[in-house]
Symmetry: C2
Subunit: 273 residues, 2 copies
Amino acid sequence: MTGFAGLSLNQATVTKLEVAEAVDLCVRHDIPAIGLWREHVARAGLAASAAHVKAAGLQVSSLCRGGFFTHADPNARAAAIADNKAAIAEAAALGTDTLVLVSGGLVPGRRDIGLARRLIADAIAELVPVAQDHGVRLGVEALHPVFAADRCVISRLGEALDLAAQFPADAVGVVVDTYHVWWDASLLPDIARAGDRIVSYQVCDWILPLPADTLLGRGHVGDGHIDFPPITAAVAAAGYTGHIEVEIFNQTIWDAPPDETAATVTKRFPQIF
Amino acid sequence: MTGFAGLSLNQATVTKLEVAEAVDLCVRHDIPAIGLWREHVARAGLAASAAHVKAAGLQVSSLCRGGFFTHADPNARAAAIADNKAAIAEAAALGTDTLVLVSGGLVPGRRDIGLARRLIADAIAELVPVAQDHGVRLGVEALHPVFAADRCVISRLGEALDLAAQFPADAVGVVVDTYHVWWDASLLPDIARAGDRIVSYQVCDWILPLPADTLLGRGHVGDGHIDFPPITAAVAAAGYTGHIEVEIFNQTIWDAPPDETAATVTKRFPQIF
């Protein structure tokens, strides 16, 4: 695991747990970091969440998530920008320098995918000075093309990188999530090209058959079809030294006892190297 | 519609019809061409299918499909090659110069996606002389990345083109299917780059929500999120002058009266321009 800061449990993997419970779960399983979600933090309270994480001695590897910029309506657009500014401040308050962005799908009622992409670039431009003020980097996440219409028109790491490269490296980077990008023939060269723009490395497996809700078709490392070691090696070679987040959306895993999930996550973690 | 040969109904859109019924449907709706499927042709008989299409005055725009090359086992691999040679001969007998390839997913039990890609290139190399002998072009189809693990590791038009470019242009081309490639930020430049390698242009729409069986999540043109006119214009500008096939996998459409489906296909067709 040379070079990496270690394992992080993304809270979405045990989504039924509140912040304090998820933090305690990490402590019980010697997981040194956690990726937090804004909805959970809002329920627990920002200050209380930050205090609990700090008291437990945990690192916060990222905050999920900002984004959803693709509104043509000025009011909806202004609301999205305001919400993302709040998310940046929350990330700083929680002690993480990484805010993950899910940029948004097609503009409601529109088919012009170029318009959606331009709106995303314009929104990030507005957020860059705020991110820099707070010492937080925006992590543009490429989502699997199955989500292009409704969640994120940025579908490949290379595309996320081309977008990020329009902005200063201390403000905008990219997220590498194996689930979303494993299929891409250009993945390894794109990771090399990303270099120090990589702000987060997230892992989970691609399992078949897909469930009815495609969002929930992720599996524990080793349960699916992704060849992790070449991807992990490329991320390391690119110079990424942060945590590796295990983020799994899967109803069966959500319904399992969290300690069982954390034990599986920890046990499977070596398989990504 | 300048430059294109006209509409073609891919038989998969009315999959419950046998060859003769699908041909008669096209005639009733003034659809000048049909894309045939091997399973249907096998049931009806190759000679009988060819005769029925010819008697009806229809063009055959393509035969679906060859491919599924990603076997490490020598016997399975030999069987796939033999089957594809038969498919080439069937295409020629049916009077079409286009055999659509769905290349295959990951090798069974293996996660090495590079291995799958090499097996595909090697298989196509074996088929090239056979294709040339029969005057048939192999159309490498990029499938949506949601099918990368189980059906086709060739996920983008650019990747299909890089593969095709390793072989003579009279033997290997690419298929542009809007459903599979609409999300790709490099789609329009890749279509321009494809030029006379484009052997088939297939259209249907990306609809949401996805059905439980992702294979069946396609819609009539206009029912979903794809911006067709820029794609059609790019295909025309690239020099493609063949038919435009409407190919829709959708249980509701399959359960609808075929004449209703054909009427909708014909009515919606102008929306792609």
